[in-house]
């Protein structure tokens, strides 16, 4: 029985671990091994080049410049956190049509990415939704929302605010509703105003989730791909790190270099996650 006991957990883990190793780790390890070669992604021959690809990544400034674009997405996600927090606080108090507002703020998060791409191409095109709407408000807009290099990243990152605001909002809302209501009642009896309630009760209550959301935003900003790829293909200075990596691999046949870039990105994300776990210890940390 005892011997059986040592084997038992592995019986349950066999299927999940097997799938995980085959479909996640085998590719990751292959990717790492490609990153040490100059393989073009399809040929039968490739040479071992050691850390040459990594040296290139860190010595060619233009390859790292694309992280500048991430700053737009980072700024956008900070804005998004603030807005999400605001609405989470507002809607956790008594409000008319509370569920209606909640639903509308959250729903975009559930929409298919390809559909989001279509919706916003129509939104930003000349004479599209945005221009027409501004026209209604009396603003004759002749902006090129995706064509103006100063605007393109703002436009694209606001799409990601539109899309992901709902998730952050619901996370905050969940954290706030987990705060025992007696605390509010006590505070109200003490005559505290909304701001004081926020500072002394809500803020401490959502601290862990706030930390988590911030870190998720940072790593999310580094690996933006889908929206700019569908909407601009990375043109006009909207290339992100992942788009650049995909182009290295598929346009210039530098699978080795692209793999090295992917490894670096993965390392960065792991690093950020590790920092998060150091800064914001929560009970889930026990898991890993």
């Amino acid at each position: 029985m005892r011997n059986m006991g040592r084997l038992t957990p592995w019986l349950y883990l066999a299927a999940p671990l097997g799938l995980l190793v085959i479909f996640t780790y085998v590719p990751v390890v292959s990717m790492f091994s490609y990153s040490l070669t100059n393989w073009d992604g399809v040929s039968y021959d490739s040479e071992f080049v050691g850390i040459d690809n990594y040296v290139q990544l860190f010595t060619r400034p233009e390859l790292f410049q694309v992280f500048f674009v991430s700053l737009y997405y980072l700024a956008a996600s900070l804005f998004q956190i603030v807005v999400a927090l605001y609405f989470a606080v507002v809607l956790s108090f008594k409000t008319r049509f509370r569920n209606f507002f909640k639903g509308i703020l959250f729903f975009p998060y559930l929409i298919n990415g390809v559909a989001v791409g279509f919706v916003f191409l129509y939104f930003f095109k000349q004479g599209g939704t945005l221009d027409s709407f501004l026209g209604l408000l009396g603003v004759q807009s002749r902006q090129f929302w995706l064509g103006d290099p100063d605007l393109v990243n703002v436009s694209l990152s606001s799409v990601s605010v539109w899309r992901f605001l709902g998730l952050n909002f619901v996370l905050f809302l969940g954290a706030i509703s987990a705060i025992p209501s007696e605390l509010y009642e006590a505070a109200e009896i003490d005559g505290a105003n909304r701001w004081q309630i926020f500072r002394s009760i809500i803020a401490p209550g959502i601290k862990p989730i706030l930390g988590l959301v911030t870190i998720l935003s940072i790593s999310g900003s580094l690996s933006v791909f889908e929206i700019p790829y569908i909407m601009t293909g990375g043109a006009n200075g909207s290339t992100t790190f992942v788009i650049q990596t995909v182009k290295q691999a598929f346009q210039f046949d530098k699978t080795g270099l692209a793999s090295a870039a992917a490894v670096v990105l993965l390392a960065l994300i792991l690093l950020i996650t590790w920092i998060q776990r150091k800064i914001v210890p929560d009970e889930r940390n026990e898991l890993a």
């Binding site: 996640t24 609405f87 639903g103 619901v170 996370l171 690996s223 889908e226």
Partner: protein, 274 residues
Amino acid sequence: MTRILAATGKYASLVVACVVMLLPLVTIFATSLKTSQEMATGETLALPRNWFNFDNYVTAFAKGDMLVAFANTAFILLFSITGTVLIGSMAAYAIDRFAFRLKRVVLGLFLVAALVPGVTTQVATFQVIDGFGLFDTRWAPILLYLGTDIVAIYIFLQFIRSIPVSLDEAARVDGASSFKIYRSVIFPLLKPAIATVVIIKGITVYNDFYIPFLYMPSEELGVISTSLFRFKGPFGAHWETLSAGAVLVILPTLIVFLLLQRFIYNGFTSGATK
């Protein structure tokens, strides 16, 4: 006075947010009901003349092979969700209820896997899928969904820890095997977690584009997102038809959302904080 001001500000901000959130979607919906003549006027925000003009939907549904797409999506959803629930709960059961060496490594493997940006490993993943002879079958995405996105395990783990171990022990005393305990004690008690996983996984799978795009190039294997994307080619100049296609894709999500709102909020609150 300040009370009224505050309330006004609050509702004003909510209304503005609603406009921002809804404007892009409502325009697409209105556009989908317009004729090409109405489109030619260039009045983007004009309301459709006939609110029951479903011609574009008929075109999108037929030419976009949407029926096949919905069927394929349903098939993939069924298997990947069932699979995720089974392997996720089994893994969580093993990790939480047994003491064994390498537990931390196993957990670490699951954690790191959730962070790998999938798009960058595709060349290697493709070789694996093809090695199993799964390329251009519905099993390719199903297995990839089971093997790459492991959020489910965290949801189950979190939940399973709240189930008292005393229940297991009571069953064991009655002579139940570990599998019996999993099947008849743990699994039934995991119901709320299962609901969460079904919702999160379901939405992820329904919305995924890249994996079916790459692994199921045959037209008869199109899913919702790839069919919509392919549809763009021939109809690229017809925003009214494209809009109808987009609405067709969004509609099921909206219905599910309206029906299951409460579960969905709970699902994401516990799920996204993996």
